[in-house]
């Protein structure tokens, strides 16, 4: 079998990224320690090149490898987001890794490999391709979670993540195999044809559908499949946590949505209520449990669970029956918008946690933020904005994200869901504001007063600047991003 050149060109960004990852692994031993930053800069360079290539993908749909992958606007949107997040993660890691004394060049290779997996996920149109992408991403992330080898917590996170992750992959794979049994194919389009027609009431198909939802539920950390999240987020190095919370969640949502709509778009009643149930419990539990957390990373873990719940509203709307196709695509575009905005604010919040670590503090307990406004005005202000945005209060981007996703819900006549989500958003304000409260309304202890120097490396400054610019600009001028999501959604409009 020969690989047609045209197909290879369509996956050029993936190839470049994997190639760079391999190159880094080769160069690592011959790069003198202390010069490892060079490898990080190279990774950033390749991300830039890939972004330029992917930019040309908007507006076109190219199916490659006989329907295994597709390059369309939808995939391009997610890829651009993933490049951005990966780039910021690399920048954030450059000084954070030194601080944690885990300066390993493999780290950058892992980021790129995980990214490659995610890219396969977002553009895969065959269940096995998507599965391969998930595995490439997950296995890399298992390793990254345990990079802080000296710390038991990190190892524990890695092991826990691996066991539960492997378990969920198994469930997903089981679902895929059952579905293959029913439909005789793993291509989304072919599955769709069978599921719409002869197999629409087949109990085996329903079981397969359920298993696939459970598998993806694990990956996006929806309740009740969220158990791994707090422990892994807490134990993993903060830069890795940020990467997991943002990039892996975005990629999983992208694949989840594509599978549900492209393969099961004809049998929406079979899954939309299930997703609705997941959505409701995820929003409720994520927010309620976050209230009692004392560790910032755990709190942000639960907050990320809650945000997954809000994002699920987009899938619920996309899968709701008896509504205009236009309304369904609103669900999709609002989910894309929500996750893009979520990426900025969550990255920003984790970056703040990471630089507090740099300040010589542990930086993980909420107490460590005490009196930050007196010690470091700028840092406290940034954290204030990120927290307000996470709570969804205008004029930040967090509000815009909620606004659009809830508009979609109201449009689908799910106003009660919007009210429900907003009630929990108000509850979430309580724990987000607690961080604001300790920063602004408590005085730092004398010991904390001494550790007042938060030295920001230029790289971290760039990360924070990007995050704050995203949160503020998208809050005030969301227009361009909204248009972009509207544009990118078209190619995946559900089968009718």
């Amino acid at each position: 079998m020969t690989l047609p050149l045209a197909d290879l060109v369509t996956i050029l960004p993936e190839l470049l990224i994997v190639g760079m990852a391999c190159l880094i692994l080769v160069l690592d031993p011959i790069t003198p320690s202390g010069k490892k930053d060079f490898l990080a800069w190279m990774s950033l360079g390749i991300l830039g090149v890939c972004a330029l290539i992917t930019m040309t993908d908007f507006g076109e749909t190219v199916v490659a490898f006989g329907g295994l992958v597709v390059v369309d606007s939808y995939a391009a949107f997610w890829k651009m987001l993933l490049y951005l997040v990966s780039g910021l993660t690399i920048l954030l890691s450059m000084s954070y890794l030194k601080e944690e004394k885990i300066e390993l060049a493999e780290y950058y290779a892992f980021v790129l490999l995980a990214l490659a997996g995610m890219m396969v996920m977002v553009s895969g149109t065959d269940l096995l391709t998507i599965y391969l992408g998930i595995e490439l991403m997950s296995i890399t992330l298992y390793i990254m979670a345990g990079l802080k080898r000296s710390e038991a917590r990190s190892i524990e996170a890695s092991a826990k993540y691996f066991v539960l992750g492997a378990f969920s992959s198994g469930i997903l794979l089981y679902g895929i195999s059952l579905l293959f049994g029913v439909t005789g194919s793993t291509r989304l389009s072919e599955i769709s044809a069978v599921v719409n027609g002869p197999a629409s009431e087949d109990p085996l198909m329903l079981l397969a559908l359920m298993l696939i939802i459970v598998g993806f539920g694990f990956k996006v950390a929806a309740v009740p499949f969220h158990m791994w999240t707090p422990d892994v987020y807490e134990g993993a190095p903060t830069s890795v946590t940020a990467f997991m919370a943002v990039a892996s969640k975005a990629a999983s949502f992208a694949a989840f949505l594509r599978v549900l709509l492209e393969a099961f778009g004809g049998v929406k009643p079979n899954w939309n209520v299930l997703i609705l149930a997941l959505c409701v419990v995820t929003i409720a539990l994520g927010n309620l449990v976050a209230i009692v957390q004392t560790n910032v990373k755990r709190m942000l873990a639960y907050s990320s669970i809650a945000h997954a719940g809000y994002a699920l509203i987009g899938i619920v709307v996309a899968g709701w029956v008896g509504i205009d196709p236009d309304v369904s695509s609103r669900g999709i575009s609002s989910l894309m918008l929500y996750l893009a905005i979520y990426s900025f604010m969550t990255l920003g919040a984790f970056a703040m946690v990471a630089i507090l670590r740099k300040g010589g503090l542990e930086g993980e307990n909420i107490e460590d933020f005490t009196g930050l406004a007196k010690r470091h005005k700028g840092g406290a202000f940034l954290m204030l904005v990120f927290m307000i945005s996470l709570a969804g209060i205008p004029p930040t981007a967090g509000f815009i994200g909620k606004f659009y996703i809830l508009m979609a819900a109201v449009n689908a006549e799910l106003a009660w869901l919007a009210i429900f989500a907003l009630i929990f958003a108000a509850i979430s304000a309580f724990y987000y504001l607690r961080i604001v409260m300790v920063m602004y309304m408590r005085d730092p202890s004398p010991e904390q007063e001494k550790n007042t120097r938060l030295t920001l490396s230029p790289q971290v400054s760039v990360v924070l600047a990007c995050a704050i610019a995203g949160v503020v600009l998208l809050g005030v001028f969301p227009g361009p991003l909204v248009s972009l999501t509207d544009l990118s959604v078209l190619s995946i409009s559900p089968v009718r």
Partner: protein, 527 residues
């Protein structure tokens, strides 16, 4: 972003008023900490000056929006940066720009730490409030409405009293929770009212009565918490007592008005049928607020808490007037919003002045001020009497109009509300008796120095307004007359449809008996 309407007078006055405080905050951010006070004062005075054209260029004859600016902000769904004021919102914008410099003056020495952040919060607050009054797009309105929470949360929580953290989060969560249904209602209105967020278009659309009821209560949740109406008022005493003086002034004078403004701008014109149906409930709650607030005020030993409860009582008059449906009631209500802003703001400033000296807000600690601080005592008595509603002072006009309007609606309600005025006299005069004429506490006496030039200067404009509105309210009433008439007109239709012949006769009779409001006062006040 091409759609553009040139505002009257050619200048985008409202945008200027909005942007100046924001620019001021940026300047503050960059400037040296020691210059914060001067910069903040300059910026706020400049904003006030720039807001004056609203008053002078305003066309009293027009009922619609003036100084309109409209630019497309977000394409899909179309959200506009749309601003404009009518006779109802213009006085409130001016009230805001007028009070902000005074708030900065009152904080001149009272705030000693983190000056920059304090003044930035105040200025952002100013922008947000003006935005709420001026927004003609529902999403823009909501954005300003919510944005306000953050600076206010910080004002209470960072510079407040001992229990500030609790008070700040209580304020925040109460108002945030109240706004939840408002946001959903805005979205529902978008889909039901013709896929637009334009407030004027949404006002003209008509809605199904069942939907109106739901929307009415959704609006109610947001606005009643802000007013605050009984029984949603419990955050207010906490917030007021803990907030720094400037925070209390802003809270009482401006923030509470947002709720009543919401009722007037949205609930009544958009949902006339539901508003008619639920008027008795609102009236009952208002009367309860008036009497309950007054009784609670009577029982307080903390001066600030006393004034806070008196706010609950006074705001009861405003909601009463709004839901009375007629020109007298609504004009009285708008006037009363302005009056309450002036009088209660002034009273909070007076409390702040005395607190700076004695560091106590207990009535018992602050006796005998008439001897020790004669100038201060004079001002305090003037504002107190204004709060009581003494004829010749501002609140009398507003309360009288409200009572006239309510009398037309229901005599018993008016009688009960009038009881509130008597109770106001009781708690205010009792307060004055104790702190102005009561025995001075020897421990505090040396600290009681009379007003300095700054304090004198910031109270004088307030006194001028008290008497100006009290003796010659015509200019202010003229401004709001046309807009109020329009609100009333949208309701007359609903009233006729909904109520039986008997009560609609009643309404007609009353409007025949009473000559147009303005004339009543011209006749009475003219020398």
């Amino acid at each position: 972003m091409t759609e553009m309407v040139v505002p009257s007078g050619g200048m985008p006055w409202l945008t200027l008023i909005l942007i100046l405080p924001l620019l001021g905050s940026v300047v503050l951010l960059l400037a040296h900490e020691s210059m914060s006070r001067q910069i903040a004062l300059t910026v706020s005075l400049l904003t006030f000056i720039v807001s004056l054209p609203l008053w002078f260029l305003f066309d009293n004859g027009q009922a619609g929006m003036q100084f309109v600016e409209k630019h497309l902000w977000i394409d899909s769904p179309a959200i506009h940066y749309a601003l404009g004021v009518d006779g109802i919102s213009m006085p409130l914008v001016l009230l805001t720009t007028f009070l902000t410099p005074l708030c900065i003056l009152v904080s001149w020495t009272a705030i000693q730490s983190r000056l920059k952040e304090f003044f930035i919060s105040l200025l952002v607050m100013e922008t947000a409030t003006i935005g709420v009054f001026g927004a003609l797009d529902f999403v823009l309105f909501y954005i300003f409405w919510e944005t306000m929470l953050i600076p206010m949360y910080l004002l209470i929580g960072v510079w407040g009293g001992p229990n500030r953290v609790y008070a700040a989060i209580k304020f925040f969560l109460y108002t945030l929770t109240g706004s939840i249904l408002l946001l959903v209602a805005i979205m529902v209105l978008f889909f039901e009212g013709g896929r637009t967020f334009d407030i004027l278009t949404l006002t003209q659309a008509s809605y199904d009565p069942g939907l109106q009821s739901l929307l009415f209560w959704a609006f109610f949740a947001a606005f009643a918490v802000k007013v605050p109406m009984f029984p949603f008022h419990t955050w207010l005493p906490d917030a007021h007592v803990q907030a720094p003086t400037a925070g209390s002034v802003i809270l009482a004078s401006v923030l509470l008005k947002l709720g009543t403004y919401g009722f007037l701008r949205f609930s009544l014109p958009m949902l006339p049928d539901a508003s008619v149906t639920f008027t008795p409930i609102i009236m009952t709650l208002s009367v309860i607020a008036i009497i309950y607030g007054a009784y609670m005020a009577l029982a307080q030993s903390d001066i600030k808490k006393l004034i806070a409860y008196s706010s609950v009582s006074h705001m009861g008059f405003v909601t009463l007037g709004i839901f009375a449906w007629n020109a007298q009631g609504i004009e009285g209500a708008v006037l009363q919003m302005v009056n309450h802003g002036i009088t209660t703001g002034a009273l909070f400033m007076c409390v702040g002045i005395i607190y700076e000296r004695t560091h106590s807000r207990e009535i018992g600690d602050n006796g005998g001020l008439a001897k020790a601080m004669p100038k201060y005592a004079t001002f305090l008595v003037i504002f107190a009497l204004s709060s009581v509603g003494l004829p010749g002072m501002n609140s009398f006009v507003g309360e009288f109009l409200v009572l006239v309007g309510v009398f037309a609606w229901d005599k018993l309600t008016a009688t009960l509300a009038a009881l509130g005025i008597i109770l106001a006299a009781v708690y205010i005069l009792y307060l004055i008796q104790r702190i102005v004429y009561g025995p001075a506490s020897p421990k505090m006496l040396p600290k009681l120095t009379d007003l300095n030039a700054r304090e004198f200067g910031m109270l004088v404009p307030l006194v001028v307004l008290v008497f100006w509105i009290g003796l010659y309210p015509k200019p202010l009433l003229d401004v709001m007359h046309a807009s109020v008439e329009r609100v009333v007109a949208t309701h007359s239709a609903s009233i006729v449809v909904q109520q039986d012949g008997d009560s609609s006769d009643n309404v007609l009779v009353m409007s025949e008996v009473l000559p147009p409001t303005v004339n009543v006062f011209e006749a009475e006040v003219a020398p």
